[in-house]
Amino acid sequence: MARRDVAIVATAQRPNEVGSTLTSVELILPVINDVIAKVGIERQKIGFWCHGSCDYMSGQPFSFVAAVDAIGAWPPIVESHVEGDGALALYEAWVKIQTGECDVALVFSNGKTTSGPIDRILNLQADPYMVTPLWPGFDSLAALQARACLDAGVLSEADMAEVAARSYRDALNNPIAYAKENVTAEQLLARPYTTAPLRAHDCGVPVDGANAIILAAGDAARSLAERPAWIRGIDHRIDTQRLGARSMTESSSAAIAAAKAGVGDDRIDIAELHAPYTHQEILLRRAMNLGEGTHVNPSGGALVSNPAMAAGLARFAEAAESVFSGSADRVLAHCTSGPMLQQNLVCVMEGE
């Protein structure tokens, strides 16, 4: 079966914040209505709805069922949910469109990351026999990975601080970014360790956020957007869950996903990498062979606003917007999941 041409035609994100008192449903509803208003489509024309979130964020079992309240599910709709980042829901929606069952899909995700101890909560994703009973937290697992990279000479603390400084400065131009600061790497290096070798700026800031994206196929996409962001390749790979059995200094799953998605076929103008830790951005750039010509995370990335389960889909939104505006022709969006870059989803999009 020939692959259908599918594009992102619209995106919406709410400003990232800390300590939101909204319910998850109240968080989601405005972004869904925004993204629908942007393309001016009737709700009934949306053939598939797909949601990415995690019940452990809101502390409410089956909170994803309550989330259906936010999408106006009357008359009844075709809907699915992924217990994970919204970018994985986008992948499901892309597959759904490939099956020919629908032409237009709406993907959304939300993370109320600050209502609970996120570092503890993410532990529940880890190996339940050998890792979760120790309650290490994702910051300390990432710190183990960073130390291995430092020891191996793959990167330096200064390289990590440079990533953070660039992200914090780029965030000054992003109205929905949470953390932003005109700061240099030297200034950041003078700050104390939190979980050595990580400092606060090395770890993505947990925030509450929500976003939505509309995907459409072929002519439907052309009719809904002036310059759709066409998905040219998309691939998802996973490393072993055994922390000790995979390389700490490279990401083979990211490298394979990038190759399968066709990252190396041509230059990449902008890469929105979902790197919740500074050293992980460097590992991802190396795994995907991204060079000087690629602007990484002009939005500031997940370092400056990391709404758990929505930060990956946010990368897709940011990358697609740069195609809509004409500021980029060929872009990369990436999402990670699990500790130490365990899972990697890579997507290449182009304008026409």
């Binding site: 909204l22 449903v25 502390g59 936010a70 009357w74 609970g116 979760t132």
Partner: protein, 165 residues
Amino acid sequence: MSEADGIMRLRQPISVTYNWSAGPNATSHLNGLLDGTLVGKRCPGCSLVYFPPRNGVCPKCARILGDDVVVGPRGTITTFCVVNVPFLGQKIKLPYVAAQILLDGADISMQHLIQECEAADVRIGMRVEPVWKDRSEWGPSLENIAHFRPTGEPDRDMGVEAGAS
């Protein structure tokens, strides 16, 4: 760890503490419960009155709910079940009746207990009223209402005919 058939069972309790927010659209509803008033919200799109105001949105219209509307306190049973099954954490003597109650002025029903009558006498269309706990026990919760009991009014026709096919 316990053992059966050579297979271990690993005890692994997990717990997470959250700071839960009911959201801005539930505020008037919860404030109402604090002084014994039942407050729902009207959808500005379809005009339906929601009690409780769910997550602050109308799931039919995908809109944030609008004006506060005082409903009840009396209502009508729209459906019910008789619970005979014991389960962990059960607080009420078996058998008891859990019912969906449509409060006067509301458009969606809410679930609560029916007491002060035989389970066998409960029926769809039966009129009921809330029995509040002592005020000293009140919080921002529907648990302020201990249960609902029959009012003795004539049944309301709920459009359900016994034996209709």
